[in-house]
């Protein structure tokens, strides 16, 4: 893209979907990894290996949470390495993708 490289910076986008109950644990792992920014969407539904989850189910209210995290490549590596062993316990999904950060000041 013809945008000046001062405006755009290559970063990694990490997206995690887990059981909302495990959210606090996950966030504390992230804090241990010195993460300084993330975004959380709660009351999310889904289907996975543990069956269907519906945040509004009358009897089995089981919400997921989505966490989105933008960070530099080496930090992404660190985070994934830290999360990897715990992810089986948490269940859910964790994906990485490339992105470009537009403000010159990455966190």
């Amino acid at each position: 893209m013809p945008l000046s490289p001062g405006i755009l910076k290559r970063m990694q986008r990490i997206e995690i979907v887990i059981n909302e109950e495990a959210l606090d644990d996950l966030l504390s792992v992230l804090r241990d990894a010195n993460v300084r920014g993330y975004t959380v969407v709660k009351k999310v539904g889904g289907l996975g290996s543990t069956g269907e989850r519906d945040p509004n189910d009358y009897s089995l209210e089981q919400p997921n949470a989505i966490i989105v995290l933008i960070c530099e490549e080496d930090q992404a590596e660190k985070i994934v390495t830290m999360l990897y062993p715990k992810l089986r316990g948490f269940g859910g999904v964790c994906i990485l993708s490339d992105c470009q950060w537009t403000t010159g000041q990455p966190i």
Partner: protein, 331 residues
């Protein structure tokens, strides 16, 4: 008992909800509204029960506790046997479904209370303790049955003890049960003038709020009932027969052993005949993840709950009336 006793607003609103679902109306109550009304109703029922208990007889209260435990243990075992022997349902699903039938449905209980109030029948204070107690033993029995099934299937027996402890704790810290017990305790200790201050909120407008709750439950039941195909005819039949078996126990215990009035017998019968959709489903999802939730939820919310609301309660009342007028209690 005339037809007009069926025209209790609470039951009519339940029917309205089912009708709305049937004609595929876009009527939908906000999910948080459901949670809020449940919170309100549980507190209301707990406070009322607590206040009555404060004036009640301890020995009688303890008999009620025994009865609650007996129901919670015996009914799931009967349910399990029927499901396994007659229905040839696989063991883990059978265990999960059974646990629901040892437990109770606060919604059914409250509808029964509305029904009795509508026809001007009084009742004892003890059934409300049974309501609060009956969730836990059923969950335990469900777990025992699942453990037994797993061993029978030759699978590893899992950490049965740890799970038991965990579930026992969960059953105690479960929000709904805590709310019920907590407000029962509050109703117990507060003074009469204090109670008078909060009575308008928790009693005066209770029946109206129950109508909205049941309208919502009617929609939920309608949604679930449409899945009965995936559940199979045997299970649907089970969802109607099992409450009748529970009711037979309830009538016997309520009349012959506890010696309650007609209203009290009706409530005990409703407790025995009803089936949980609040505390047991999440416990079973955790404890028996191999079981299919759509089985026990369809049965509980789509079959047994509407059956009890529309047909069961008046029937149990009629039976209680008959028993009470025909036989003496044993004690």
């Amino acid at each position: 008992m005339s037809l007009s006793s069926l025209l209790v607003p609470a039951i009519l609103f339940f029917a309205l909800g089912m009708f709305a679902c049937l004609i595929k109306s876009d009527l939908k109550f906000p999910p948080d509204m459901h949670k809020m009304i449940v919170i309100y109703l549980l507190i209301g029922i707990g406070l009322h029960g607590g206040k009555e208990l404060a004036a009640a007889n301890m020995a009688d209260a303890i008999s009620a506790v025994y009865a609650a435990f007996a129901f919670g243990i015996i009914l799931p075992i009967i349910a399990y046997i029927i499901l396994r022997v007659i229905g040839r349902i696989d063991p883990l699903n059978a265990a999960a479904i059974s646990a629901h039938y040892g437990s109770v449905s606060a919604g059914t209980y409250m509808t029964a209370v509305a029904f009795l109030a509508g026809i001007g029948v009084t009742y004892e204070a003890y059934p409300v303790i049974m309501l609060a107690i009956m969730e836990s033993p059923a969950i335990m029995i469900g777990l025992v049955l699942a453990g037994y099934s797993r061993r029978a299937l030759g699978g590893e027996s899992k950490n049965q003890k740890g799970m038991m402890k965990h579930l026992l704790l969960d059953a105690f810290t479960n929000g709904s049960i805590l709310l019920l017990f907590g407000s029962m305790a509050i109703g117990w200790v507060i003074s009469e003038p204090s109670y008078k201050k909060i009575e308008p909120f928790f009693e005066l407008i209770f029946m109206g709020a129950l109508c909205i709750f049941l309208c919502d439950m009617g929609m939920e039941a309608g949604r679930r009932i449409s899945e009965f195909r995936s559940v199979g005819f045997f299970l649907v039949g089970f969802g109607i027969v099992m409450p009748l078996i529970g009711a037979a126990f309830g009538l016997t215990v309520g009349h012959f052993m506890l010696g309650y009035s007609i209203g009290g017998i009706t409530l005990v019968t409703v407790l025995a005949a009803s089936c949980s959709y609040i505390a047991v489903p999440p416990a079973m999802k955790l404890a028996v993840p191999e079981a299919n939730p759509s089985f026990y939820l369809t049965l509980s919310l789509g079959v047994t709950f509407p059956f009890n609301i529309v047909i069961g309660i008046p029937m149990y009342y009629a039976a209680a009336q008959y028993l009470h007028e025909t036989y003496y209690p044993w004690f």
